[in-house]
């Protein structure tokens, strides 16, 4: 198993996308499934092989470059298509191919009845290819290519059922909102190019400490503009608005793109460019602030949502906020750690909810669920595990990753950021268990139709659920704090983040999560606090949704204004409509009527009419009388003769 097979990892899904895309409708379903899942599965196997190979190299040498094609080569500026495998991209690659493979398998069951089956898998494979290109890219331009491509695939998949107006609109909203972020991202890339003359990661990051003074305006500008792209792609405040609407797409899509992978691209990007952010502490502060604000914002909205997928969507936004919070306080490993565990349990939760929806023949409103525990045993078990994981209950995955973030927030960010994170953790536990209890416990509030068709999902769907559940349990054990040798992930990622120490002078051990004795007591204390908080949230949810189901309504009526504010997601969409979209649309209409129709159309039509009129006048010369023609000839002769005679 040689590292030179790396290129197969992105190319296999691309191949699958091309085959399924071109043959959609003509290839039998089984073949489509086989190609769709097989290519990603094979890519995962090769990815694992490359990963292990990489691990065999000594730590300082763990970087493998593979040039596929000389894309741009103009004078001093060259942008090759080159894949770079290092510890960070290796982790991302495994997450994308691994979780992606499970979701592809799940899709064969979930989307089994769809007409446009081939189109779905083509898009999904294309997305996998794009995400892998993004993650394995060796330079900003190639990363941007992947960035844009995943945005495109997101649009295509959100609007998969494009015949539904809401789905089409949601896809458009996602794309346009992302575009706003991409604008900032592009400016960031331009600034990088102007400053460094190259877009190559290796060279830029090596030269950055020399060229950019810490805290300089240029460094901050670059970091902030790049971060704007992350705000868009990773649905942070204020560009989060597209993610809840993106739930219009099929549930596996929500799991893969809007939970496990695409939305994490922003986190990956900031982690990759960590040196630039280290050189711009102000920008890092902004990252942390926005991350923290997003955590609270989304968590509060999630409290009131009735649609099961919406709750998960806002939960994703909130958890992404945690990741940026981690990055913002310099805890890069923690951020990536949470990215990984979140991929496991959020994908699990989405796929589980998909299983519920599938079982209820399309019902997504939790008011019409309840008591499904006995009807859907496997789904119930896996969902419970996922919910415990996200709530941060020991010893599941979410506990370790979230705690790592909270610890570093306390250590480097101060009590305020820690407090926000803790509150978020409480809310997370509460609303996630609210979801769990409303769905699986309590009274059965199903519609007659749904009850009639109720059935557990097929193996193609439940087996990935089980696998993801296992990962959600053990996934956190690769980075156990305070235990000597327990920070496997931290040690693995250390070479990537080592250069921070050269800039900040020895603060690198925070990023890598080293353990020293003086940390032990505060860290354990905080761990206990967060565990208690999580359990409190679970208890409260139990009270409100199992023991005393009328309680939420009573409280909602008491604080009606606040309740509607949260339910209407702080009316951000309405705000955007009023101050941005409304004026733009009205301005466009005015331009259309006032200029395009009145001026341009009138001019063009006017020219036509003028020609017509002129022709009408000229036509009168053609009388049809031969003698008149003869007379004109004679007149001409007279004139010519006159000219000649007078010479």
């Amino acid at each position: 198993m040689s590292l030179s097979l790396l290129w197969l990892v992105p190319v296999l899904p691309l191949f699958g996308a091309i085959v399924n895309g071109l043959g959609a409708g003509r290839i039998p379903r089984r073949v489509v499934s086989a190609i769709g899942t097989g290519t990603v599965g094979l890519a995962f196997v090769i990815a694992v092989g490359c990963f292990l190979r990489l691990a065999q190299l000594p730590a300082e040498e763990r970087i493998f470059l593979q040039t596929l094609y000389d894309w741009i080569d103009s004078g001093d500026f060259s942008v090759p298509i080159r894949l770079a495998l290092d510890p960070l991209s290796g982790v991302m690659m495994l997450v994308v191919t691994g979780v992606g493979f499970l979701i592809h398998v799940y899709s064969t069951g979930y989307m089994g009845h769809e007409k446009a089956y081939g189109r779905y898998f083509a898009y999904l494979n294309l997305f996998t290819f794009s995400m892998l290109m993004l993650v394995l890219a060796d330079n900003f331009l190639l990363l941007f290519f992947g960035w844009e491509a995943v945005g495109l695939c997101s649009f295509l998949l959100i609007g998969y059922w494009y015949q539904r107006p809401s789905a089409a609109k949601a896809g458009l909203k996602a794309f346009v909102t992302n575009r706003v972020g991409d604008w900032g991202f592009m400016i960031g890339i331009f600034l990088v190019f102007v400053t460094f003359g190259t877009l190559d990661f290796g060279r830029v990051f090596a030269e950055a400490p020399g060229r950019l003074a810490i805290g300089s305006g240029l460094a901050t500008a670059i970091a902030l503009f790049l971060f704007i792209g992350a705000i868009g792609k990773s649905a942070q405040l204020p560009l989060h608005v597209w993610l809840p609407d993106a739930m219009e797409g099929p549930t596996p899509v929500s799991a893969l793109i809007h939970a496990a992978t695409m939305v994490t691209a922003g986190v990956y990007m900031v982690a990759r460019c960590h040196i630039l952010y280290t050189l711009a502490p102000a920008a890092l502060g902004v990252v942390a602030a926005i991350g923290a604000a997003t955590v609270l914002f989304a968590a509060t909205v999630a409290l009131t949502q009735k649609d099961i997928k919406r709750v998960l969507a806002y939960s994703t936004v909130s958890q992404l906020g945690y990741m940026f919070l981690a990055l913002g306080v310099g805890a890069y490993t923690a951020g990536i750690f949470h990215l990984m565990t979140h991929a496991f349990f959020k994908a699990l939760l989405f796929l589980g909810s998909g299983s519920v929806i599938h079982a209820l023949s399309g019902e997504q409103d939790m008011d019409r669920m309840g008591g499904l525990k006995k009807h859907l045993p496997r789904t119930h078990l896996t969902m419970l595990i996922g919910t415990l994981a996200i709530a941060g209950v020991f010893p599941l995955a979410g506990f370790f990753s979230k705690d790592e973030i909270l610890w570093h927030a306390w250590e480097n960010g101060g009590p305020l950021l820690w407090g926000v994170g803790l509150t978020g953790a409480f809310l997370t536990a509460f609303y996630m268990f609210r979801l769990y209890f409303m769905t699986f416990h309590g009274q059965e509030r199903l519609t007659h139709e749904a009850k009639h068709h109720l059935h557990e999902s097929p193996n193609s769907m439940t087996i990935p659920l089980l696998l993801l559940a296992v990962l959600s349990v053990i996934g956190g054990w690769i980075n156990i704090p305070l235990v000597r040798g327990g920070q496997i992930l931290g040690a693995w990622l250390e070479p990537v983040f080592a250069d921070i120490a050269h800039v900040t002078g020895g603060a690198a051990h925070h990023a890598a999560g080293e353990v020293t004795g003086s940390h032990a007591t505060p860290e354990i204390t905080l761990m206990v606090i967060s565990l208690v908080v999580a359990l409190a949230g679970i208890y409260l949810a139990h009270r409100f949704y199992v023991v005393d189901p009328g309680a939420p309504k009573r409280i909602a009526d008491r604080v009606h204004g606040l309740y509607t504010l949260l339910r209407d997601k702080y009316r951000v969409d309405e705000l955007y409509d009023a101050i941005l979209l409304g004026p733009i649309v009205r301005g466009s209409v005015r331009l259309w009527q006032g200029f395009d129709v009145a001026v341009i159309d009138r001019t063009v039509n006017g020219v036509g009419r003028a020609v017509e009129k002129a022709a009408g006048e000229l036509r009168l010369a053609q009388t049809g009388y031969v003698q008149m023609y003869a007379m004109v000839i004679t007149l001409g002769t007279v004139i010519v003769l006159g000219v000649l005679a007078l010479r």
């Binding site: 036509r619 009388t623 049809g624 009388y625 031969v626 003698q627 003869a630 007379m631 004679t634």
Partner: protein, 105 residues
Amino acid sequence: MTEGTGVPLAAYQILAAVLFTIGVVGVLVRRSALVVFMSIELMLNAVNLSFVAFSREHGSLDGHIFVFFVMAVAAAEVAVGLAILVAIFRNRETANVDDVRLLKG
């Protein structure tokens, strides 16, 4: 070799001009298509006269040759033109130039 007489070249030219002008008047003013045709023949003959006179003046036969060809072409033209006239007359019972104006724009 014949000797010169008293008729100047100018006389022949003026005569030719007069005949030509009369022909032009006929073409532009008459209503009957046949008479218009004849006026055209009149014009051609006037030109022939002019050619022969010049030819005599210069002692060259080129003018004669030209007249020869003019006559041949005139013959062809008359044949075809009259055929057209006959065809038109058969369709519309009139030989009036005024009445044939299908080319009106």
